[in-house]
């Protein structure tokens, strides 16, 4: 009985001690704080769940949590900073069948957003 009990107490600690991911992608010139603000401003949350962004509970596209641990962008492209920035700026140019439209924005905004997605994890 005591052992089971202690296991319950230890279990959350185990998760808390899960090894840090060894690789955090860096976006050149990307600022996560500005990125969060940009994600809110462009209302990306209409389609995506984005932790930390107000009202971002959309179910149209995939959830964007734990983005640094994802292997692929949109299930197709290696999850590297430049690839993600290109995707945010103009997804249809990379995958013509995608439902994600190209929203007119500056590349700087896209860099910031990518930075937030990687760093907010």
């Amino acid at each position: 009985m005591m052992r089971q009990l202690s296991l319950f107490i230890l279990l959350p600690l185990l998760f808390a001690c899960a090894p840090e991911r060894d690789y955090v992608p860096r976006v050149v010139d990307g600022d996560a704080d500005r990125g969060r603000e940009a994600l809110a401003r462009y209302e990306c949350g209409v389609c995506h769940v984005i932790p930390g962004v107000a009202d971002a509970v959309g179910k149209v596209g995939p959830a964007l949590d734990h983005y640094s641990r994802r292997s692929y962008v949109a299930g197709k492209f290696p999850n590297e900073p430049d690839m993600l920035v290109r995707w945010i700026v103009d997804a249809p140019a990379m995958a013509p069948q995608t439902a994600m439209p190209a929203i007119s924005m500056s590349e700087q905004d896209a860099r910031d957003m990518a930075a937030y997605l990687y760093e907010s994890d």
Binding site: Y42, E43, C44, V46, C47, V57, G58, K59, V60, P92, P96, Q97, T98, A99, M100, P101, A102, I103, S104
Partner: protein
């Protein structure tokens, strides 16, 4: 710092009814603040002192009866003056309206404006239909969730509802008036300021009451006339092949059974008129900014954005169709 779309009774547009009410409010805040401080000082002093003699008549009749009776009488007259003045706004300050009661100021021009522009606003769960019916107007102008009006001219909103009670409130422009089934109510708007002001539903109207806003855009008379003329134009079938995909998707997806787009076969009436949807400030009644991303997100995820609203989340479209449809609707400026 002023927000981009003022929506505050404390930040009224110049020359608006809200400005008069704000002046009245300032008088109330100052007066109440003083009374509050005096009463509190009396209470604290009364607790701290010991056994002072009291003239009951002085306290009760003076402080409790004469003072409030006098103050409230003045306040009532002041408020009546302002309330009446709101029907002929734009000419006076709140103080001036009050002084007029005693014949101290210039006699106020009480003439009701004849060339008042009437705009019909219909509250619906949870959006607003806006109609312009002007003599000599060729096509009906029906839009949603956005009112445009000229500056320096009295506008009368004719308010009604097709379902439950709503209330129209543009805090920076005027007070609120309810929209009640079986009745039409009226609200006078006027301002000399060009800008975009936010308005919201102020009467609880069910599930998504919180997401029922609209924008009031005030423009100078020329710009307004040009806008109204443009609103009367109809839509033609697009030639661009990508937009044509969107056009076809619109009809394939049954959108037309609820929405009207003049110039096309779409003539549904239960949802907003989309003839010039691309030119509007917002989607989903002031909930989202209007751009291609939010358009696509709203079409595909209307029930995620505003659960319980009458528009279903459209699941019938391929990615390309969704983008094309959003692009085509966005092009209807």
């Amino acid at each position: 710092m002023r927000p981009p779309h003022p929506a505050s009774a404390l930040d009224p547009a110049s020359g608006s009814g809200a400005e008069l009410i704000d002046q009245l409010g300032t008088a109330l805040y100052v007066g109440s603040g003083l009374i509050f401080l005096v009463v509190m000082a009396l209470v604290i002093y009364a607790v701290l002192t010991k056994g002072r003699p009291v003239n009951a008549r002085y306290w009760i009749l003076g402080g409790g009866l004469a003072f409030p009776a006098f103050t409230l009488t003045v306040l009532l007259m002041y408020s009546l003056a302002v309330g009446n003045g709101l029907n002929a706004i734009g000419s006076s300050s709140a103080l001036q309206l009050f002084l007029d009661c005693f014949g101290l100021g210039d006699a106020r021009a009480r003439t009701t404006v004849d060339d008042v522009l009437r705009i019909h606003v219909v509250g619906k769960q949870w959006w607003w239909e806006v109609r312009y019916e002007r003599a000599g107007q060729s096509e009906p102008v029906v839009l949603a969730n956005e009112i445009r009006m000229p500056t320096h001219q009295a506008v009368e909103l004719v308010l009604s509802t097709t379902d439950v009670i709503h209330s129209f409130w543009a805090p920076s422009l005027a007070g609120k008036v309810d929209m009640i089934p079986g009745r039409t109510t009226h609200l006078r708007l006027q301002t000399s300021e060009e800008g975009t002001f936010r308005a919201l539903c102020a009467e609880y109207c069910g599930g998504q009451h919180a997401l029922m806003a609209l924008f009031v855009v005030t423009q100078n008379g020329d710009d307004f006339d040009a806008w109204l003329a443009r609103q009367q134009t109809s839509v033609v079938e697009p030639v661009d092949p990508f937009l044509k995909i969107g056009y076809d998707a619109f009809f394939r997806g049954e959108c037309h059974s609820c929405h009207t787009i003049r110039g096309t076969p779409a003539d549904g009436t239960s949802g907003p008129d989309l003839t010039h949807v691309g030119g509007r400030k917002s989607l989903a009644a002031g909930t989202l900014n209007n751009h291609i991303g939010t358009m696509a997100g709203w079409i595909a995820g209307a029930q995620d954005v505003k659960p319980g609203n009458k528009m279903p989340s459209s699941l019938a479209y391929s990615g390309v169709e969704l983008r094309a449809l959003s692009a085509w609707l966005g092009s209807l400026q």
